[in-house]
């Protein structure tokens, strides 16, 4: 894991002291709310429905146990004992007091964490494959590049006041676990035939009011030229991105307006001018890469007797192993996914106690490594198969062993109208109602992979456009209604979902999802996923079933 150096620590100390002064001036009346708001937002502090919300950056979703314990401590001390993991792999505290915020930033800085650039029109937290360093599928460790991007983009003077917020993802394998094509820039690590490392560069993806899947603007960029190319993209965006209309200010609008080809041409022209001076020196890259050197793995047999015996003994553990354990690159190890989607719970929420349990497990069994996924779950990337039964038992005791990864109850949901000042409708309770319909684990497994994503407003923090089933809360004549879309995907086969039909009232949403699943089970052929069946049949049979009793 990357460790902050003295420069990083000094920056955080300065920034924290600066914010402490700004808060004091606001409370004393020396700063108006209009003057103060951009300053607090630059430090991740929003004013929401019930309190302030602090959004803490978790760079590329990577945490060590000390950091997770500190988040737990903050949750217990300054919040109501909870934290909420987000689709940007950040963590939000929803019950923060303004007067406490400087103390919290100091606490975060003590473990090399902060809330800088978790809001504002700047480069936000980078998403990376949560299986980094653990999956045999990866071309290169994406954390190396994500960390380099973090350092490059943090308080970057040229790119701190962009037309609008800017999000970058680094995917490291053919299987995309980062939603790269929905980012402003999606970088997909690749190797050329001659072995040279590089990236496919996709630009102009984004969700929100106008969803776009990012087109590829350069099929192969040599990795050592990454930063000059990023600079060229950001420069073209900074120059031509619209600042007159907040709804048309994202780079996706610029790319769509120019066309991917013309946008790429302008980037290439800018890149030519920049030359190699903006690229990362090899020595610096080597320094960063050193921080992610593979940890020492033991030589173990591919088959663990303890693991096999536990599966035979416990159907519950066998179910957990089937759904939550993923293949590791080293024999005798597994990647363990921890669901934050227990039936009836708030998607992405973890209590302080649960965070501490995960921190303990990472320390005892997981090489001090914890990841956050954009699907609002956690990962222990390096667990010995021999230890998996013990990890499962401890997770089960903490209410963290729900065996539903990628299943129908593994739902992304934004905080919605329960917390968010922007929301039109609730998301969390819709997710809870749907999950309750599929509480029967056997049935959920029979349904198989099904990604439901729920947003409480058109800003699409819950990624509804790219859900296999997407659900968008709207305010219709003063009541909570929900528009359903089908057939979206955030993965390598990314696509925007198609509207099912007229919006449904709150009470009918879970039932409609149940109906959609029944149609899928009736129509599916062979091993088709819900998404495959939908893409084959189109919307008609689904629409007919959901609206049958309306006609």
């Amino acid at each position: 894991m990357y460790r902050y150096d003295q420069i990083d620590k000094d920056i955080l100390a300065d920034r924290s002291a600066e914010f402490r002064g700004q808060v004091a001036r606001r409370l004393a009346g020396e700063l108006s709310e209009d003057q103060f708001k951009p300053l607090r937002l630059r430090n991740g502090l929003y004013l929401q429905l019930h309190a302030y919300m602090l959004r803490v950056a978790i760079p590329y979703g990577s945490l060590n146990p000390t950091q997770l314990r500190k988040l737990a401590w903050i949750g217990r001390t300054y919040d109501k004992g909870y934290g909420h993991f987000t689709t940007r792999t950040n963590l939000q505290f929803h019950w923060i007091k303004l007067a406490d915020a400087p103390e919290i930033l100091d606490a975060l800085a003590s473990v090399d964490m902060h809330a800088i650039q978790t809001s504002g029109n700047c480069i936000r937290n980078v998403t990376a494959d949560p299986y980094a360093g653990a999956t045999a599928e990866e071309i290169d460790d994406p954390r190396v590049w994500a960390e380099a991007i973090r350092q490059w983009s943090t308080i970057h003077p040229e790119f701190n006041w962009l037309p609008r917020k800017f999000k970058i993802a680094v995917s490291a394998a053919a299987k995309d676990r980062t939603a790269a094509k929905t980012h402003d820039i999606g970088l997909n690590l690749k190797r050329a035939r001659d072995g040279v490392l590089g990236f496919e560069v996709m630009v102009g993806g984004g969700l929100g009011r106008l969803p776009h899947i990012a087109p590829t603007v350069r099929p192969f960029l040599p990795a050592q030229r990454l930063f000059s190319y990023l600079e060229a993209i950001l420069r073209v965006y900074n120059r031509h991105g619209r600042r007159d209309n907040i709804h048309k200010a994202r780079i996706k609008i610029l790319v769509a307006a120019l066309g991917a080809e013309e946008f790429a041409r302008q980037v290439e022209a800018e890149w030519e001018k920049i030359g190699t001076s903006a690229d990362l020196p090899d020595t610096e890259l080597a320094r960063i890469r050193g921080a992610f050197a593979p940890t020492a793995f033991e030589t173990l047999p591919a088959v663990s007797e303890a693991f096999e015996a536990a599966k035979a003994r416990s159907p519950a553990f066998a179910r957990f192993a089937r759904n939550n354990l993923k293949p590791h690159k080293v024999a005798g190890y597994a990647i363990v996914e921890i669901s934050l989607k227990a039936i009836g719970q708030t998607p992405g929420d973890a209590t302080a106690e649960q965070m501490e349990v995960v921190a303990d497990l990472a320390e005892r069994f997981g090489q001090d490594d914890i990841r956050v996924t954009h699907e609002q779950n956690l990962v222990l990337p390096h667990v010995k198969l021999d230890d998996a039964p013990a990890v499962w038992a401890a997770l089960a005791e903490a209410g963290l062993a729900t065996a539903n990864m990628n299943l129908v109850s593994d739902i992304i949901a934004c905080p919605g109208l329960d917390y968010c000042a922007l929301a039109n409708a609730r998301s969390i309770s819709v997710a809870q109602n749907i999950a309750a319909k599929f509480a029967d684990a056997e049935r959920a497994e029979r349904v198989g992979e099904l990604k439901i994503k729920i947003s409480g407003c058109i800003n699409a923090c819950g990624h509804h456009h790219v859900g296999h089933i997407g659900i968008l809360g709207v305010d219709k004549k003063g009541e909570e209604f929900y528009q359903l879309t089908l057939g979206g995907s955030a993965a390598e086969d990314a696509g925007v979902g198609q509207a099912l039909g007229p919006a449904l009232p709150y009470e009918r949403v879970a039932e409609a999802v149940d109906t959609l699943v029944d149609v899928y089970l009736r129509e599916r052929q062979g091993a088709e996923r819900f998404l495959d069946t939908f893409r084959r049949t189109g919307v008609a049979p689904f629409k007919e079933a959901v609206y049958a009793d309306v006609h």
Binding site: Q48, L98, A99, L417, D418, D475
Partner: protein, 119 residues
């Protein structure tokens, strides 16, 4: 009928106007007739307290179980707390809270548009 609400600056707590003071429970809020200029006067007074509250505004009310409740669902959530956990004011219970929990009406405040700018 209307009430005046805001978030308290120092902690973000949802507060309501009552005779020159800010109180935490909607049940304690001062109510204004729709045509009573005292409502707008209170709002103006609140806007002159920038070190006490952030962005005070009047909300519309409707009757519920013989008591008053905000028309807007958003305002009822502000007055009660989130619906997923009893972490808000609903934990205190009582008739006023129950009236809020059983009220029906609009999802969002009247007149609060362009919410993307409100963070």
């Amino acid at each position: 009928m209307k009430a005046l609400t805001a978030n308290r600056l120092i902690d973000g707590e949802v507060v309501f106007w009552r005779n020159g003071q800010w109180v935490e429970q909607f049940g304690d809020a001062q109510l204004f007739n729709d045509d009573d200029p005292a409502g707008e006067a209170a709002e103006a007074h609140g806007k002159n307290q920038p070190t006490v509250v952030v962005e005070p505004y009047l909300i519309d009310l409707t009757q519920s179980q013989g008591l008053w409740a905000p028309v807007s669902y958003r305002e009822r959530i502000r007055a009660l707390g989130p619906t997923n956990l009893n972490h808000g004011k609903q934990a205190d219970g009582g008739a006023a809270i129950e009236a809020l929990q059983h009220a029906h009406g609009a999802a969002r405040s009247t007149g609060r548009v362009d919410l993307i700018k409100r963070k």
